[in-house]
Symmetry: C2
Subunit: 315 residues, 2 copies
């Protein structure tokens, strides 16, 4: 609800993964599909925020679009683990209350981000895995999807390539990716959401940074909202999402500087690659990444939507 | 290895859980068993540190003792989930490199902290769950244990009480608990480890703060090492372990003030209860908790071991 005299600024940032070797995804028709997918997500989230809806509703709406697209590594179009199966992860967090929900080891649920939100709002827990998470999704009546829905030819080929190179060993560059969104709503509340299929050829049961509050997702009205993408193991060790917020909250940095310090120094120092999108309390959207590309977009009350892929793209 | 002229200070802090309603555990013979268990853990860790061993070796040794004792909620003596089963969690982190390992949804592995360390040192991942974690433990030849080893009468009674009160609903006070250790070694490196059976009557697949780097466990030579215990959902949302380190690293606080601010303000503000043990780069051990009791102990090169249970206990 907006009232006269209230600051009704809102803004939304999204990402669709970062990487160093996305040659395949960057063929012209894939590039067009990615741009279109990011635009669709921005439109869905902006519609919520323009109407005075909450940042939590907006990030969920944007991430659902990216999960439903076969071109991003989340929901439909997710990568395959070392057994040739898909195990999904997602998280969501609300900056006003620090409420959070997360899921991992998930199979057959169409929109993991929506399950993460149900965990946040309708369970006594924050983080549910596998069989227990699926049982809760069933009890909540969430939409399921079969293996055909999730399966894509380009991910299967990537899996076959990865298996040929190295059986269940360290991931190959470019074979990761994650989607996410951050938002400021007209009530001044921040939220973040992140969703992924993880890493191609990951071990069964591997959990990445996506469902880890403080690693791949974080939101606090005291600082900012953050969603990350990249080599999850490094994001966990460097607690990147919380680090960006702490640099703002305790270190007095602005959002762009905090994101840059966390990615270009803290993450890079331990050898990690990836990126983050941040929105602060004023609605400023910041991106930082140390990879060749980061699929990203932003929109606000005052600026039309804009999407970018390469570093040089204005976004 | 210590060299002449090098600062050979070392210190170790341990905890065995915090709670508000540990009436059962505080009968005189239980109290004696808890004190003895904490002393055993301190002795095991101190032996490593005195001999010039690493802080990672020390926290692993201390936590293994607490896992093997039936009186703490970790390894043997763990609580039961809503299905009457035991699902174990653990994590370990090295402050020099930010290397980390974590496991959850674990069954039948005697020392989860040792598996977390193997994940850190011998897998391409940071966090493994359930079947995948157990397969890795088997490949690594880790010691297994059967249900009889883990089962204790007092935990089963607690489970039956919890089921009578509320089927798979919010946890009851006192039915949580975790063990952990933090250390500074003579080379100046910090480490932390945490291990737990989680929450009595927790949902299948519930993951708490224990295996979450930045929530229940964190170590960075830039700040401190932290191990937490309490209501895990709140520790995840408030990223308590990373928050304490950030208050030191970016906020300029000392370890005791940082721990107190994180527990008494940040955690308490969202309704959470529990505690943390911290060691900083100088070897100062700090405890903070907003519960009636926290089972805890410390020892250093310069001070003999000391254990405490209630707030008033000198420790």
């Amino acid at each position: 609800m907006t009232r006269p005299g209230q600051d009704t600024a809102w803004s939304l940032g999204v990402h669709g993964g970062a990487g160093v070797n996305r040659g395949e995804a960057l063929l012209p028709d894939h590039r067009a599909a990615i741009r279109s997918g990011l635009e669709t997500a921005l439109t869905a989230g902006a519609r919520v925020l323009e109407g005075g809806g909450s940042s939590v509703d907006a990030v969920e709406a944007a991430v659902r679009c990216l999960e439903d697209s076969p071109w991003f590594n989340a929901g439909r179009g997710s990568v395959f683990n070392a057994r040739g199966e898909i195990e999904l992860e997602a998280s969501i967090m609300e900056g006003r209350t620090l409420a959070a929900g997360a899921v991992a080891g998930l199979r057959g649920i169409r929109n993991p981000v929506t399950l993460a939100r149900r965990v946040m709002e309708r369970s006594p827990h924050v983080f549910l895995h596998g069989e227990g998470a699926i049982a809760f999704a069933t009890a909540e009546g969430l939409e399921t999807a079969d293996a055909d829905w999730f399966w894509t030819e380009h991910r299967w080929k990537a899996f076959e390539r990865a298996r040929g190179i190295a059986q269940a060993s360290a991931p190959q560059p470019g074979e990761h990716g994650t989607v996410g969104a951050v938002a400021l709503d007209t009530a001044g509340n921040l939220a973040a959401a992140t969703s992924t299929g993880g890493l191609t050829n990951k071990w069964l049961g591997r959990i990445g940074d996506t469902p880890i509050i403080g690693a791949g997702c974080y939101a606090s009205n005291a600082a900012c909202a953050v969603s990350c993408t990249g080599q999850g193991e490094y994001f966990i060790r460097a607690t990147i999402a919380r680090d960006i917020a702490a640099l703002i909250e305790y270190g007095g940095q602005d959002a762009q500087t905090a994101a840059r310090l966390a990615i270009e120094q803290r993450l890079a120092k331990i050898g990690g690659e990836g990126g983050a999108v941040v929105v602060d309390r004023s609605g400023t959207i910041a991106f930082a990444f140390n990879t060749e590309v980061m699929l990203r977009g932003k929109v606000s009350r005052d600026s039309p939507s804009r999407v970018g892929i390469h570093l040089a793209d204005l976004c």
